[in-house]
Protein backbone atom coordinates (compact mmCIF):
# COMPACT_ATOMS: atom_id res chain seq x y z
CA UNK A 1 0.00 0.00 0.00
CA UNK A 2 2.83 2.42 0.91
CA UNK A 3 4.55 1.63 -2.40
CA UNK A 4 1.39 2.47 -4.34
CA UNK A 5 0.99 5.77 -2.49
CA UNK A 6 4.68 6.53 -2.98
CA UNK A 7 4.55 5.96 -6.73
CA UNK A 8 1.31 7.89 -7.11
CA UNK A 9 2.79 10.81 -5.16
CA UNK A 10 5.96 10.65 -7.25
CA UNK A 11 4.00 10.67 -10.50
CA UNK A 12 1.91 13.63 -9.31
CA UNK A 13 5.02 15.56 -8.29
CA UNK A 14 6.71 14.80 -11.63
CA UNK A 15 3.59 16.00 -13.47
CA UNK A 16 3.42 19.19 -11.45
CA UNK A 17 7.12 19.94 -11.88
CA UNK A 18 6.82 19.47 -15.66
CA UNK A 19 3.70 21.61 -15.78
CA UNK A 20 5.42 24.27 -13.74
CA UNK A 21 8.40 24.26 -16.08
CA UNK A 22 6.14 24.72 -19.10
CA UNK A 23 4.29 27.48 -17.30
CA UNK A 24 7.58 29.18 -16.54
CA UNK A 25 8.68 28.95 -20.19
CA UNK A 26 5.32 30.23 -21.40
CA UNK A 27 5.51 33.23 -19.09
CA UNK A 28 9.05 33.99 -20.19
CA UNK A 29 8.12 33.81 -23.88
CA UNK A 30 5.14 36.12 -23.62
CA UNK A 31 6.65 38.68 -21.33
CA UNK A 32 5.29 41.94 -22.73
CA UNK A 33 7.72 44.43 -24.13
CA UNK A 34 6.52 47.77 -22.89
CA UNK A 35 8.64 49.53 -25.46
CA UNK A 36 6.92 47.90 -28.42
CA UNK A 37 3.45 48.46 -27.04
CA UNK A 38 3.61 52.19 -26.85
CA UNK A 39 4.49 53.36 -30.35
CA UNK A 40 1.97 56.13 -30.45
CA UNK A 41 2.28 57.56 -26.99
CA UNK A 42 2.03 61.32 -26.85
CA UNK A 43 5.31 63.17 -26.37
CA UNK A 44 6.52 63.43 -22.80
CA UNK A 45 5.38 66.61 -21.22
CA UNK A 46 2.39 67.22 -23.46
CA UNK A 47 -0.37 68.85 -21.55
CA UNK A 48 -3.03 71.46 -21.69
CA UNK A 49 -1.32 74.10 -19.58
CA UNK A 50 -0.91 76.30 -22.66
CA UNK A 51 -2.97 76.86 -25.75
CA UNK A 52 -2.50 78.62 -29.06
CA UNK A 53 -5.21 80.74 -30.65
CA UNK A 54 -5.02 81.64 -34.33
CA UNK A 55 -7.02 84.15 -36.29
CA UNK A 56 -8.63 82.25 -39.17
CA UNK A 57 -9.33 85.41 -41.11
CA UNK A 58 -5.69 86.39 -40.93
CA UNK A 59 -4.70 82.89 -42.03
CA UNK A 60 -6.99 83.18 -45.04
CA UNK A 61 -5.38 86.47 -46.01
CA UNK A 62 -1.81 85.09 -46.10
CA UNK A 63 -0.27 85.24 -49.55
CA UNK A 64 2.60 83.30 -51.09
CA UNK A 65 4.91 86.31 -50.83
CA UNK A 66 7.78 87.49 -48.63
CA UNK A 67 7.14 89.57 -45.53
CA UNK A 68 3.98 87.95 -44.28
CA UNK A 69 2.94 88.33 -40.66
CA UNK A 70 0.87 86.20 -38.36
CA UNK A 71 -0.40 87.12 -34.90
CA UNK A 72 -1.26 84.42 -32.42
CA UNK A 73 -2.26 84.30 -28.78
CA UNK A 74 -0.47 82.06 -26.29
CA UNK A 75 -2.79 81.26 -23.40
CA UNK A 76 -1.73 80.00 -19.99
CA UNK A 77 -4.54 77.71 -18.92
CA UNK A 78 -2.78 76.62 -15.75
CA UNK A 79 -2.91 77.97 -12.24
CA UNK A 80 0.77 78.95 -12.14
CA UNK A 81 2.46 81.74 -14.09
CA UNK A 82 4.68 80.62 -16.97
CA UNK A 83 8.01 82.06 -17.96
CA UNK A 84 10.25 81.72 -21.02
CA UNK A 85 7.70 80.00 -23.22
CA UNK A 86 9.26 79.13 -26.58
CA UNK A 87 7.05 79.63 -29.59
CA UNK A 88 8.27 78.29 -32.94
CA UNK A 89 6.95 78.47 -36.46
CA UNK A 90 8.10 76.17 -39.22
CA UNK A 91 7.08 76.85 -42.80
CA UNK A 92 7.33 73.95 -45.21
CA UNK A 93 5.81 72.60 -48.38
CA UNK A 94 3.46 69.67 -48.75
CA UNK A 95 5.98 68.44 -51.31
CA UNK A 96 8.47 66.63 -49.11
CA UNK A 97 11.04 66.47 -51.89
CA UNK A 98 11.63 70.18 -51.31
CA UNK A 99 13.99 70.53 -48.36
CA UNK A 100 13.59 74.21 -47.77
CA UNK A 101 11.74 74.41 -44.45
CA UNK A 102 12.15 77.73 -42.67
CA UNK A 103 12.14 78.03 -38.88
CA UNK A 104 11.28 81.05 -36.75
CA UNK A 105 11.39 81.33 -32.97
CA UNK A 106 10.20 83.72 -30.30
CA UNK A 107 10.28 83.60 -26.52
CA UNK A 108 7.50 84.89 -24.30
CA UNK A 109 9.06 85.97 -21.03
CA UNK A 110 6.03 85.74 -18.78
CA UNK A 111 2.38 84.67 -18.98
CA UNK A 112 0.33 85.07 -15.79
CA UNK A 113 -1.89 82.22 -14.63
CA UNK A 114 -5.07 82.25 -16.68
CA UNK A 115 -3.65 85.03 -18.86
CA UNK A 116 -2.38 85.29 -22.42
CA UNK A 117 0.27 87.01 -24.51
CA UNK A 118 0.31 88.03 -28.16
CA UNK A 119 3.10 86.83 -30.44
CA UNK A 120 3.77 88.07 -33.96
CA UNK A 121 5.78 86.15 -36.53
CA UNK A 122 7.09 87.83 -39.64
CA UNK A 123 8.12 85.33 -42.21
CA UNK A 124 8.48 84.53 -45.90
CA UNK A 125 5.75 82.51 -47.49
CA UNK A 126 7.36 82.14 -50.87
CA UNK A 127 6.25 78.99 -52.61
CA UNK A 128 9.48 77.29 -53.66
CA UNK A 129 10.07 76.56 -57.28
CA UNK A 130 9.05 73.04 -58.08
CA UNK A 131 11.98 70.95 -59.25
CA UNK A 132 12.04 69.45 -62.70
CA UNK A 133 9.23 66.96 -62.45
CA UNK A 134 7.94 64.15 -64.55
CA UNK A 135 4.18 63.94 -64.80
CA UNK A 136 3.96 60.36 -63.63
CA UNK A 137 5.91 61.00 -60.44
CA UNK A 138 4.66 64.43 -59.52
CA UNK A 139 1.43 65.43 -57.89
CA UNK A 140 -1.13 66.61 -60.44
CA UNK A 141 -1.92 69.71 -58.41
CA UNK A 142 0.16 72.47 -56.80
CA UNK A 143 1.56 71.74 -53.36
CA UNK A 144 0.09 73.41 -50.29
CA UNK A 145 2.15 75.29 -47.72
CA UNK A 146 2.19 74.06 -44.12
CA UNK A 147 2.70 76.23 -41.04
CA UNK A 148 3.47 74.34 -37.84
CA UNK A 149 3.24 76.40 -34.64
CA UNK A 150 4.42 75.00 -31.33
CA UNK A 151 4.51 76.57 -27.87
CA UNK A 152 6.68 74.84 -25.26
CA UNK A 153 7.01 75.67 -21.58
CA UNK A 154 10.17 75.26 -19.56
CA UNK A 155 8.59 72.19 -17.96
CA UNK A 156 8.24 70.57 -21.37
CA UNK A 157 4.50 71.01 -21.80
CA UNK A 158 3.73 71.85 -25.39
CA UNK A 159 0.88 72.46 -27.73
CA UNK A 160 0.86 72.34 -31.51
CA UNK A 161 -1.22 73.85 -34.27
CA UNK A 162 -0.70 72.84 -37.89
CA UNK A 163 -2.12 75.11 -40.55
CA UNK A 164 -2.56 73.82 -44.10
CA UNK A 165 -2.89 76.67 -46.54
CA UNK A 166 -4.72 76.03 -49.83
CA UNK A 167 -2.70 76.70 -52.99
Amino acid sequence: MRDVVFWLSGAAVAFLVTAGAFLLLANLATAPSEKSLNPDRAPVGSGHAIDLQLDRERLASLEPLPDQSLDLVVENEGEEPLSDVNVTLSVSSENTALSDSRYYRQTVEKIPAGGSENVRFEFDLVVPEQPVTRPSAAAPEPSREILELRATTQEGNSTVRTVILPP
Partner: protein
Protein backbone atom coordinates in the same frame (compact mmCIF):
# COMPACT_ATOMS: atom_id res chain seq x y z
CA UNK B 1 4.34 9.64 4.29
CA UNK B 2 3.50 12.92 5.95
CA UNK B 3 6.47 14.62 4.37
CA UNK B 4 5.48 13.29 0.90
CA UNK B 5 1.97 14.66 1.37
CA UNK B 6 3.33 17.98 2.56
CA UNK B 7 5.66 18.17 -0.47
CA UNK B 8 2.75 17.40 -2.79
CA UNK B 9 0.58 20.14 -1.27
CA UNK B 10 3.44 22.66 -1.39
CA UNK B 11 4.14 21.81 -5.04
CA UNK B 12 0.51 22.35 -6.03
CA UNK B 13 0.44 25.64 -4.11
CA UNK B 14 3.68 26.79 -5.78
CA UNK B 15 2.40 25.99 -9.28
CA UNK B 16 -0.91 27.74 -8.64
CA UNK B 17 0.85 30.75 -7.17
CA UNK B 18 3.17 30.98 -10.17
CA UNK B 19 0.33 30.70 -12.63
CA UNK B 20 -1.71 33.41 -10.97
CA UNK B 21 1.14 35.76 -10.21
CA UNK B 22 1.37 37.16 -13.77
CA UNK B 23 -2.26 38.02 -14.29
CA UNK B 24 -1.65 41.59 -13.16
CA UNK B 25 1.02 42.14 -15.80
CA UNK B 26 -1.36 41.11 -18.56
CA UNK B 27 -3.92 43.58 -17.22
CA UNK B 28 -1.36 46.34 -17.42
CA UNK B 29 -0.89 45.97 -21.19
CA UNK B 30 -2.68 48.92 -22.61
CA UNK B 31 -4.35 48.53 -26.02
CA UNK B 32 -3.05 50.72 -28.81
CA UNK B 33 -5.03 53.90 -28.63
CA UNK B 34 -7.17 54.65 -31.67
CA UNK B 35 -6.83 58.29 -30.71
CA UNK B 36 -3.41 58.19 -32.31
CA UNK B 37 -5.18 58.21 -35.65
CA UNK B 38 -4.32 54.67 -36.70
CA UNK B 39 -7.95 53.90 -37.49
CA UNK B 40 -9.57 56.14 -40.04
CA UNK B 41 -13.34 56.14 -40.23
CA UNK B 42 -13.46 57.65 -43.69
CA UNK B 43 -12.90 54.31 -45.43
CA UNK B 44 -15.08 52.10 -43.29
CA UNK B 45 -14.40 49.88 -40.29
CA UNK B 46 -11.10 48.08 -40.12
CA UNK B 47 -9.10 50.50 -42.25
CA UNK B 48 -5.68 50.99 -40.72
CA UNK B 49 -3.37 53.86 -41.63
CA UNK B 50 0.02 52.68 -42.88
CA UNK B 51 1.52 56.16 -43.25
CA UNK B 52 0.91 59.70 -42.09
CA UNK B 53 1.94 63.23 -42.89
CA UNK B 54 2.46 65.19 -46.09
CA UNK B 55 3.83 63.86 -49.37
CA UNK B 56 2.31 62.65 -52.61
CA UNK B 57 2.44 58.88 -52.19
CA UNK B 58 2.07 56.13 -54.73
CA UNK B 59 3.00 52.62 -55.90
CA UNK B 60 2.72 50.71 -52.60
CA UNK B 61 4.48 47.35 -52.42
CA UNK B 62 4.42 44.92 -49.50
CA UNK B 63 7.67 43.20 -48.52
CA UNK B 64 7.78 39.43 -49.11
CA UNK B 65 7.28 38.72 -45.40
CA UNK B 66 4.59 41.39 -45.14
CA UNK B 67 6.24 43.29 -42.29
CA UNK B 68 7.08 46.40 -44.29
CA UNK B 69 5.60 48.44 -47.09
CA UNK B 70 7.52 50.46 -49.67
CA UNK B 71 6.08 53.32 -51.68
CA UNK B 72 7.01 56.40 -53.63
CA UNK B 73 6.73 59.77 -51.90
CA UNK B 74 7.01 62.89 -54.03
CA UNK B 75 9.07 60.80 -56.43
CA UNK B 76 11.59 59.25 -54.02
CA UNK B 77 11.28 55.79 -52.48
CA UNK B 78 10.70 55.03 -48.81
CA UNK B 79 9.56 52.07 -46.78
CA UNK B 80 8.32 51.60 -43.22
CA UNK B 81 7.00 48.86 -40.95
CA UNK B 82 3.31 48.10 -41.42
CA UNK B 83 2.98 48.68 -37.67
CA UNK B 84 4.48 51.71 -36.03
CA UNK B 85 7.96 52.74 -36.99
CA UNK B 86 9.97 55.28 -38.89
CA UNK B 87 10.40 55.73 -42.61
CA UNK B 88 13.56 54.56 -44.33
CA UNK B 89 14.61 56.41 -47.45
CA UNK B 90 15.96 54.40 -50.37
CA UNK B 91 16.61 57.07 -53.01
CA UNK B 92 17.68 60.69 -53.05
CA UNK B 93 15.14 63.46 -53.43
CA UNK B 94 16.26 64.30 -56.95
CA UNK B 95 15.37 60.80 -58.18
CA UNK B 96 11.94 60.22 -59.65
CA UNK B 97 10.65 56.71 -59.11
CA UNK B 98 7.55 55.46 -60.86
CA UNK B 99 7.37 51.96 -59.47
CA UNK B 100 9.09 49.90 -56.83
CA UNK B 101 9.01 46.17 -56.16
CA UNK B 102 10.65 44.10 -53.45
CA UNK B 103 13.26 41.70 -54.68
CA UNK B 104 13.85 40.31 -51.19
CA UNK B 105 13.33 41.57 -47.65
CA UNK B 106 16.45 43.73 -47.95
CA UNK B 107 16.46 44.80 -51.60
CA UNK B 108 14.18 46.85 -53.82
CA UNK B 109 13.98 47.07 -57.59
CA UNK B 110 13.11 50.61 -58.60
CA UNK B 111 11.87 51.88 -61.96
CA UNK B 112 12.67 55.55 -62.40
CA UNK B 113 15.14 58.16 -63.56
CA UNK B 114 17.15 61.17 -62.50
CA UNK B 115 15.67 63.93 -64.62
CA UNK B 116 18.12 66.19 -66.42
CA UNK B 117 18.14 69.91 -65.77
CA UNK B 118 16.53 70.59 -69.14
CA UNK B 119 13.01 69.82 -70.14
CA UNK B 120 13.78 66.94 -72.46
CA UNK B 121 11.98 63.70 -71.85
CA UNK B 122 14.03 60.76 -70.69
CA UNK B 123 13.18 57.11 -70.43
CA UNK B 124 13.11 55.09 -67.24
CA UNK B 125 15.80 52.73 -66.09
CA UNK B 126 15.66 49.84 -63.68
CA UNK B 127 17.77 50.09 -60.54
CA UNK B 128 18.46 47.93 -57.55
CA UNK B 129 18.79 49.31 -54.02
CA UNK B 130 20.09 47.30 -51.09
CA UNK B 131 19.41 47.85 -47.43
CA UNK B 132 22.30 48.63 -45.16
CA UNK B 133 24.54 50.31 -47.69
CA UNK B 134 25.99 53.53 -46.43
CA UNK B 135 24.81 55.81 -49.20
CA UNK B 136 21.65 55.93 -51.25
CA UNK B 137 23.46 54.74 -54.35
CA UNK B 138 21.54 52.69 -56.85
CA UNK B 139 22.87 49.84 -58.93
CA UNK B 140 21.80 50.17 -62.54
CA UNK B 141 20.24 47.00 -63.93
CA UNK B 142 18.98 48.06 -67.36
CA UNK B 143 18.22 51.22 -69.34
CA UNK B 144 15.11 52.12 -71.35
CA UNK B 145 12.84 49.93 -69.26
CA UNK B 146 9.15 50.37 -70.02
CA UNK B 147 7.43 47.88 -67.71
CA UNK B 148 8.16 45.74 -64.64
CA UNK B 149 6.32 42.84 -63.03
CA UNK B 150 7.23 40.88 -59.92
CA UNK B 151 6.16 37.74 -58.14
CA UNK B 152 7.40 34.51 -56.56
CA UNK B 153 10.90 35.85 -55.98
CA UNK B 154 11.46 36.85 -59.57
CA UNK B 155 11.11 40.03 -61.54
CA UNK B 156 10.51 40.38 -65.25
CA UNK B 157 10.95 43.59 -67.17
CA UNK B 158 10.58 44.85 -70.74
CA UNK B 159 13.05 47.20 -72.34
CA UNK B 160 13.75 48.76 -75.69
CA UNK B 161 14.98 52.15 -76.77
CA UNK B 162 12.43 52.59 -79.52
CA UNK B 163 8.78 51.79 -79.98
CA UNK B 164 9.49 49.25 -82.70
CA UNK B 165 10.69 46.31 -80.60
CA UNK B 166 10.91 45.31 -76.95
CA UNK B 167 12.76 42.54 -75.16
CA UNK B 168 11.96 40.71 -71.97
CA UNK B 169 14.44 39.83 -69.25
CA UNK B 170 14.01 37.97 -65.98
CA UNK B 171 16.00 38.49 -62.78
CA UNK B 172 16.00 36.17 -59.83
CA UNK B 173 17.71 37.26 -56.63
CA UNK B 174 20.65 39.60 -56.24
CA UNK B 175 19.54 41.70 -59.20
CA UNK B 176 21.34 39.26 -61.46
CA UNK B 177 19.94 38.59 -64.90
CA UNK B 178 18.55 35.08 -64.86
CA UNK B 179 17.43 34.95 -68.46
CA UNK B 180 17.32 37.28 -71.45
CA UNK B 181 14.72 36.30 -73.99
CA UNK B 182 16.12 36.52 -77.49
CA UNK B 183 12.87 36.83 -79.41
CA UNK B 184 11.80 40.47 -79.58
CA UNK B 185 8.22 41.61 -79.14
CA UNK B 186 6.90 43.83 -81.91
CA UNK B 187 6.01 47.19 -80.39
CA UNK B 188 6.37 48.77 -77.03
CA UNK B 189 5.40 46.85 -73.88
CA UNK B 190 3.33 49.33 -71.90
CA UNK B 191 2.77 47.10 -68.87
CA UNK B 192 3.18 43.49 -67.79
CA UNK B 193 2.47 41.17 -64.89
CA UNK B 194 3.27 37.61 -63.95
CA UNK B 195 0.70 34.85 -63.71
CA UNK B 196 0.24 33.72 -60.07
CA UNK B 197 2.04 30.41 -60.79
CA UNK B 198 4.92 32.46 -62.16
CA UNK B 199 5.58 30.60 -65.40
CA UNK B 200 3.82 33.02 -67.73
CA UNK B 201 3.39 36.74 -68.13
CA UNK B 202 0.69 38.88 -69.71
CA UNK B 203 1.68 42.01 -71.59
CA UNK B 204 -0.13 45.11 -72.83
CA UNK B 205 1.62 46.08 -76.05
CA UNK B 206 1.43 49.07 -78.37
CA UNK B 207 2.23 47.75 -81.86
CA UNK B 208 4.66 49.83 -83.93
CA UNK B 209 3.25 52.53 -86.20
CA UNK B 210 -0.31 52.11 -84.93
CA UNK B 211 -1.07 54.35 -82.01
CA UNK B 212 -4.77 53.53 -82.01
CA UNK B 213 -4.37 49.85 -81.28
CA UNK B 214 -3.59 47.99 -78.08
CA UNK B 215 -2.70 44.32 -78.01
CA UNK B 216 -2.80 41.81 -75.23
CA UNK B 217 -0.12 39.14 -75.40
CA UNK B 218 0.88 36.23 -73.19
CA UNK B 219 4.48 35.08 -72.87
CA UNK B 220 5.65 31.65 -71.76
CA UNK B 221 8.71 32.26 -69.60
CA UNK B 222 9.92 28.65 -69.89
CA UNK B 223 9.69 28.39 -73.67
CA UNK B 224 10.57 32.01 -74.30
CA UNK B 225 7.67 32.41 -76.71
CA UNK B 226 4.73 34.76 -76.81
CA UNK B 227 1.44 35.03 -78.66
CA UNK B 228 -1.25 37.59 -79.15
CA UNK B 229 -4.55 36.81 -77.43
CA UNK B 230 -6.59 39.99 -78.02
CA UNK B 231 -6.54 43.22 -79.97
CA UNK B 232 -8.38 46.43 -79.19
CA UNK B 233 -9.13 48.70 -82.12
CA UNK B 234 -11.00 51.95 -82.43
CA UNK B 235 -8.71 54.13 -80.36
CA UNK B 236 -9.29 52.02 -77.27
CA UNK B 237 -6.38 51.61 -74.91
CA UNK B 238 -5.46 49.22 -72.15
CA UNK B 239 -5.12 51.17 -68.95
CA UNK B 240 -2.63 49.92 -66.39
CA UNK B 241 -1.49 46.36 -66.02
CA UNK B 242 -3.52 43.34 -67.18
CA UNK B 243 -3.98 40.71 -64.47
CA UNK B 244 -3.90 36.93 -64.79
CA UNK B 245 -6.53 35.13 -62.69
CA UNK B 246 -7.59 31.50 -62.51
CA UNK B 247 -10.63 32.46 -64.58
CA UNK B 248 -8.85 34.29 -67.37
CA UNK B 249 -7.07 37.57 -67.96
CA UNK B 250 -8.67 40.79 -66.76
CA UNK B 251 -7.78 44.28 -67.89
CA UNK B 252 -9.10 47.83 -67.81
CA UNK B 253 -9.68 49.49 -71.17
CA UNK B 254 -11.52 52.39 -72.69
CA UNK B 255 -11.41 55.10 -75.27
CA UNK B 256 -8.06 56.83 -75.53
CA UNK B 257 -8.33 60.28 -74.06
CA UNK B 258 -6.08 62.67 -72.25
CA UNK B 259 -8.80 65.24 -71.66
CA UNK B 260 -12.44 65.28 -70.76
CA UNK B 261 -14.94 63.90 -73.23
CA UNK B 262 -16.88 66.24 -75.46
CA UNK B 263 -19.76 66.31 -73.00
CA UNK B 264 -17.42 67.35 -70.20
CA UNK B 265 -17.45 64.01 -68.42
CA UNK B 266 -14.39 61.98 -67.52
CA UNK B 267 -13.42 59.20 -69.91
CA UNK B 268 -14.96 55.94 -68.71
CA UNK B 269 -13.03 52.71 -68.50
CA UNK B 270 -14.47 49.22 -68.10
CA UNK B 271 -13.06 45.91 -66.94
CA UNK B 272 -12.81 43.21 -69.58
CA UNK B 273 -12.01 39.53 -69.45
CA UNK B 274 -10.44 37.37 -72.10
CA UNK B 275 -9.58 33.65 -71.87
CA UNK B 276 -5.86 32.95 -71.72
CA UNK B 277 -6.25 30.96 -74.95
CA UNK B 278 -7.37 34.17 -76.63
CA UNK B 279 -10.60 35.50 -78.06
CA UNK B 280 -12.85 38.52 -77.96
CA UNK B 281 -12.75 40.46 -74.71
CA UNK B 282 -16.06 40.56 -72.83
CA UNK B 283 -17.16 42.87 -70.05
CA UNK B 284 -16.05 41.23 -66.80
CA UNK B 285 -18.99 39.25 -65.40
CA UNK B 286 -20.18 40.23 -61.94
CA UNK B 287 -18.92 43.80 -62.10
CA UNK B 288 -21.90 45.49 -63.73
CA UNK B 289 -22.18 47.37 -67.01
CA UNK B 290 -22.07 50.79 -65.37
CA UNK B 291 -18.93 50.09 -63.36
CA UNK B 292 -16.16 52.66 -63.92
CA UNK B 293 -12.81 51.03 -63.32
CA UNK B 294 -9.51 52.70 -62.47
CA UNK B 295 -7.05 50.00 -61.48
CA UNK B 296 -7.00 46.28 -60.74
CA UNK B 297 -4.66 43.82 -59.00
CA UNK B 298 -4.90 40.06 -58.74
CA UNK B 299 -4.44 38.43 -55.33
CA UNK B 300 -1.26 36.42 -54.72
CA UNK B 301 -3.17 33.13 -55.22
CA UNK B 302 -4.87 34.32 -58.42
CA UNK B 303 -8.36 33.74 -57.03
CA UNK B 304 -9.51 37.32 -56.36
CA UNK B 305 -9.23 40.66 -58.05
CA UNK B 306 -8.94 43.96 -56.15
CA UNK B 307 -10.57 46.78 -58.08
CA UNK B 308 -10.59 50.52 -57.45
CA UNK B 309 -13.55 52.05 -59.19
CA UNK B 310 -17.13 53.26 -59.01
CA UNK B 311 -20.32 51.24 -59.31
CA UNK B 312 -21.59 53.90 -61.71
CA UNK B 313 -20.29 57.31 -62.84
CA UNK B 314 -22.12 59.09 -60.02
CA UNK B 315 -21.19 56.83 -57.11
CA UNK B 316 -18.10 57.30 -54.90
CA UNK B 317 -14.83 55.56 -55.59
CA UNK B 318 -14.29 52.46 -53.47
CA UNK B 319 -12.14 49.37 -53.24
CA UNK B 320 -13.98 46.25 -54.39
CA UNK B 321 -12.96 42.61 -54.45
CA UNK B 322 -14.20 40.41 -57.28
CA UNK B 323 -14.39 36.65 -57.02
CA UNK B 324 -13.97 35.73 -60.70
CA UNK B 325 -15.26 32.17 -60.20
CA UNK B 326 -18.50 33.13 -58.47
CA UNK B 327 -18.70 36.50 -60.29
CA UNK B 328 -19.42 38.22 -56.99
CA UNK B 329 -18.27 41.78 -56.36
CA UNK B 330 -17.88 42.87 -52.73
CA UNK B 331 -17.18 46.38 -51.47
CA UNK B 332 -14.16 46.48 -49.14
CA UNK B 333 -14.37 50.17 -48.26
CA UNK B 334 -17.23 52.49 -47.35
CA UNK B 335 -16.07 55.80 -48.71
CA UNK B 336 -17.16 58.71 -46.56
CA UNK B 337 -15.96 61.84 -48.30
CA UNK B 338 -12.51 60.47 -49.07
CA UNK B 339 -10.60 60.71 -52.32
CA UNK B 340 -9.22 57.26 -53.08
CA UNK B 341 -6.28 57.59 -55.43
CA UNK B 342 -6.96 55.99 -58.79
CA UNK B 343 -3.44 55.77 -60.20
CA UNK B 344 -2.54 52.63 -62.09
CA UNK B 345 -0.18 51.34 -59.37
CA UNK B 346 -1.94 52.70 -56.32
CA UNK B 347 -3.06 49.42 -54.80
CA UNK B 348 -1.23 46.33 -53.59
CA UNK B 349 -2.13 43.00 -52.01
CA UNK B 350 -0.45 41.84 -48.83
CA UNK B 351 1.58 38.66 -49.38
CA UNK B 352 -0.97 36.54 -47.52
CA UNK B 353 -3.94 37.99 -49.39
CA UNK B 354 -5.68 39.25 -46.24
CA UNK B 355 -5.42 42.97 -47.01
CA UNK B 356 -5.09 45.48 -49.79
CA UNK B 357 -3.19 48.76 -49.48
CA UNK B 358 -4.84 51.81 -51.03
CA UNK B 359 -3.99 55.51 -50.96
CA UNK B 360 -6.57 58.11 -49.94
CA UNK B 361 -7.11 61.52 -48.42
CA UNK B 362 -10.00 63.66 -47.29
CA UNK B 363 -11.43 66.18 -49.69
CA UNK B 364 -9.15 69.22 -49.51
CA UNK B 365 -10.62 72.49 -48.33
CA UNK B 366 -10.34 75.80 -50.14
CA UNK B 367 -9.91 77.51 -46.73
CA UNK B 368 -6.95 77.19 -44.35
CA UNK B 369 -7.27 74.13 -42.15
CA UNK B 370 -6.05 74.19 -38.53
CA UNK B 371 -5.19 70.93 -36.80
CA UNK B 372 -4.07 70.13 -33.26
CA UNK B 373 -1.45 67.56 -34.30
CA UNK B 374 2.00 67.95 -35.86
CA UNK B 375 1.98 67.75 -39.65
CA UNK B 376 3.77 64.42 -39.73
CA UNK B 377 0.94 62.77 -37.75
CA UNK B 378 -1.93 64.02 -39.87
CA UNK B 379 -3.82 61.50 -41.96
CA UNK B 380 -6.84 62.81 -43.85
CA UNK B 381 -5.21 66.07 -44.91
CA UNK B 382 -2.72 64.31 -47.17
CA UNK B 383 -2.64 61.26 -49.39
CA UNK B 384 -1.76 58.36 -47.11
CA UNK B 385 -1.64 54.59 -47.29
CA UNK B 386 -4.35 52.51 -45.67
CA UNK B 387 -4.53 48.78 -45.10
CA UNK B 388 -7.99 47.49 -45.96
CA UNK B 389 -8.87 44.02 -44.63
CA UNK B 390 -10.48 41.90 -47.34
CA UNK B 391 -10.66 38.49 -45.66
CA UNK B 392 -8.34 35.57 -46.15
CA UNK B 393 -7.99 33.49 -49.31
CA UNK B 394 -10.09 30.76 -47.71
CA UNK B 395 -13.10 33.06 -47.85
CA UNK B 396 -13.21 32.94 -51.63
CA UNK B 397 -15.72 30.22 -52.53
CA UNK B 398 -14.44 27.37 -54.61
Amino acid sequence: MNSARLFLILSIAAVLAWGCAHADEEDSIAPLAPASGRVDPGLGPGAQALSSGPGYKGSPSWSPEGGRIAFTKDGYVVDKPTGSGNLRRWTTRDFFAEDTEWESDDALMILGAVPPSGAEEISNSLYRARLGEDSLELESVENDVSAVGAGRGRLIFAFGSKTRESWLTMTRGGGKIDRRYSKPIAGRVASLSLAPEGAQAVLAVRPPKDREVSELRVFDLRKGEGRKIARLDGAREILGTPQWTEQGIYFVAGKQSTTLDSDGSEPLYNIFRVPEEGGSPELAPGVGEDFVAASIRVSPDGRRLAIIGRLNPKSPTNLYVLDPLANVLTAATTNEDMEIKTGLDDLAWSPGGESVAVIARGTPSTEPEVRADPADRLLRDFYNLYEIPVGGPEEAPR
